[in-house]
Symmetry: C2
Subunit: 477 residues, 2 copies
């Protein structure tokens, strides 16, 4: 007999006799009411046990976390808050769950405790909802690009190229640590390593992605990227997923249009398909906000924030304008910023970005045309010779969610920049080939997927929106 | 002015004046006919240059590989093989391509040569087609599972767990090679490494995936996996993408049903959406087959092979039946196999799998119920106490494309198996928790994505179906 998913039972058009449902007990009340969940939805189905005709031995084994198979009739429920319930005709315990030992008891656990039990936390309402939303968001990303004719490209994870300079990299090796062979110069002989050269985990698929965009026109990557940075913050992971579209013939304006349209699409798609999960997460955030002092509470609920992003254009502000705003801002004048903005050219810190987004504009902001010397070598130099066609999208509560640019398409300008930075041109021979043969204006951006999940779920720590977070001193599971 | 994609021009319902198209020159004939491609389709649009009114200096720069922007009128073409062409009214060279230097000349290049130019090979018909098909296949995989309510799970890439034993692993470290700190015992002090322990690149997300399936019911992974094996074959990569669904309450039969339905769905989806690319690859394979001796040629064309998989059930054969067939087969009796099958218990080699699939059954085969001692520890032991509920799907020309099993759900049996193998139970505490708390029958499988792409595209070397292949001594780009 085939079992039916809880979601399908709850959405049934009419009562049905003889259904089979399998799942895990969330709670068992009055020796009679099982709240059963199978992960298909955040909602449980109530299964009403005929306790007078069920052996006491069986009733004792209906504990939180136990796996059970329930046969019965789906009937309209007399109880509040649910349309249907299952009147149980037979019940089988598939797997016990010792209530003395099962860590996920039906009570509020701290997020820290749940992180230590990342293999079980997904059995809670919060993490079930977060992981379903994450999955739908992922699919929305694929659907958006595929509908528009973008080609999904799997750029390499292990890379021999160290040119992007986006941050510290993890080394990948098959050589024995502290016993690696040496070459004639007394240095480590990477020729004897698996790939015959020094290799690392990628920090970005952009450079490889560009080579594909210059053939296929529109491409996107969506895969894991890595930073070996000792950042123990609620916004950083050592391993995270990144989305990187790259489009031939797009300039910076088209790049901003794409990023904005893309973000609005995936949020809208997810709001339509994750109503129950998002309603739950909305309530969760509202409850959490109530524990804060009034002044620190958010003006909008989670769903209001999402709706706001859909209905409002992102404010586009040049770096130069932003510096003016910040220089004249109260926290700058009153020296409340840790880094006082003195003059044009300053790198913006998280506190400045948050001021612009959360206090000044109160909406998502796209900053563009940054000083060349605080941005990456591959960004298109403007005619002013001091700014580059870079853009960052800043979100309330999240900070930078997207970083992108129009790319420097001129071979000579790019070569000069590379030389100035002391990068060996030979390392980038293949990247430069895109400028040697049929170069053209092109642009792209990177979106940190977990930061998007943070925004959409209203969670506040990035470790809570990825199944098994990797952070300094933590690679459990 | 917005430019139109080549694909949209070729599919236009009627002629259109004043179109703008941007792309790369594939060929330029008679100083007049540009075959222009922008990656949106394998087909080029012919752009007819008014060479009498175009400066000679410009005509000279219309070379293979050059990026151009063409304005003109889309008209019905008088030439054969194309419905429309563009009568050029103005042409701008965006990026030159020196014909003396551009490696991708309009002639047949060897696949080896193209591999060395992986950043440019995607500008050829073959690799453009392969990469578009790969992208659509990827999306089909997501769509299949999402439609069925599976949750996409990103299991970790960097892992501290070395328990699966699927093969040699790459080490990930931030410690300086040959200068790593030692602990009091004189061993490398991994507490000082980034994650505070020894870490590797994942060989499979299965174990983590199981923990999620036992909460969310149905999950799938789709991400990169790694093997540090020195296998220089046309079927192995050091870095490849794997799809791993895992379903609570599924037994081995349901697992086989899922795998078969899944493969048929994604092939059908791709055939419907990649008609032009697959027609091209079909012709390519047919041409290649013609260079072989008649006896070695495939009986079916690429499209016929794909259609065959859609229309025929996979043949399900137990390992025990397969051994009987092999023992009594001609190549076994005539000692043509490198490994002669003597008795039950023998591990099957690629030559045996190919015989079963290509000579005996002539269709995809699912082998199941393998001897326990040649399979992984987590597979469900059958009541005979000597076989496990494992299954492999074998494809013609590809060999193993799927490996899966029903998982051992009984804590005590699993613990005993782990002890026998000398694995430290503490390493797997979290995995065993799934059996401690609410265990249930569950099953899953892994599909090597590049092998599927090989099958669907008719390519014969796995290095030709991934953008930038990683193999022993090769991590270029």
């Amino acid at each position: 007999m085939k079992h039916t998913k809880v979601k399908d039972l709850l959405n049934s058009a009419k009562p049905v006799d003889d259904v089979l449902v399998k799942g895990w007990v969330r709670t068992f009340r009055n020796n009679q009411f099982i709240a059963l969940n199978d992960g298909s939805t955040i909602n449980n189905i109530q299964c009403v046990v005929d306790f007078e005709n069920t052996p006491a031995e069986t009733l004792k084994r209906i504990t939180t976390g136990a796996a059970v198979a329930v046969k019965g009739n789906l009937t309209e429920s007399k109880g509040a808050g649910q349309k249907y319930e299952v009147q149980v005709t037979s019940l089988e315990i598939l797997g016990d769950s010792d209530p003395e030992k099962f860590p996920m008891q039906p009570k509020k656990h701290s997020l820290e405790f749940l992180r230590e039990n990342a293999h079980l936390r997904v059995r809670t309402n919060v993490f079930g909802a977060v992981m379903r939303v994450r999955s739908v968001l992922s699919f929305a990303i694929h659907q958006y690009f595929q509908e528009k004719g973008f080609v999904y490209v799997n750029t390499p994870i292990i890379t021999g190229s160290d040119a992007e300079g986006a941050g510290e990299m993890f080394q990948v090796t098959s050589l024995p640590l502290n016993n690696a062979p040496l070459n004639e110069e007394g240095k480590i002989d990477y020729k004897q390593d698996f790939f015959g050269k020094e290799t690392n985990l990628t920090v970005s698929g952009q450079l490889e992605g560009e080579t594909f965009a210059m053939a296929l026109g529109q491409i996107y990557t969506f895969g894991p990227t890595f930073r070996a940075e000792n950042s123990n913050t609620s916004r950083h992971l050592a391993e995270f997923w990144m989305v990187e579209p790259e489009v031939a013939f797009n300039d910076l304006d088209a790049n901003m249009d794409l990023a904005e349209d893309f973000i609005q699409y995936v949020i809208k798609y997810t709001m339509e398909r994750c109503k129950d999960d998002l309603a739950f997460l909305d309530q969760r955030l509202t409850d959490e906000e109530k524990t804060k002092p009034t002044a620190e509470r958010s003006e909008m609920s989670l769903l209001e924030k999402l709706q706001f992003v859909l209905e409002n254009n992102f404010k586009r502000v040049s770096y130069t304008e932003a510096i003016d705003i910040l220089k004249n801002s109260k926290p700058n004048k009153n020296k409340k910023f840790n880094y006082i903005i003195e003059e044009w050219g300053a790198d913006l810190q998280s506190e400045h970005e948050r001021f612009l987004v959360e206090k000044h504009f109160k909406c998502p902001v796209i900053l563009f045309d940054y000083p060349a010397n605080i941005k990456a070598f591959y960004m298109r130099l403007n005619e002013d010779n001091k700014t580059v066609r870079a853009m960052d999208i800043l979100f309330p509560g999240i900070g930078e969610i997207v970083g992108g640019s129009q790319r420097e398409e001129r071979l000579d300008v790019l070569q000069q920049k590379i030389a100035e930075l002391g990068i060996d041109e030979k390392e980038l021979w293949w990247y430069l080939d895109t400028r040697r043969f049929g170069t053209a204006v092109h642009s792209g951006f990177g979106l940190g997927f977990e930061r998007l999940v943070l925004f959409v779920t209203g969670m506040t720590n990035i470790r809570d929106v990825i199944p098994f977070p990797r952070t300094p001193q933590n690679a459990e599971f």
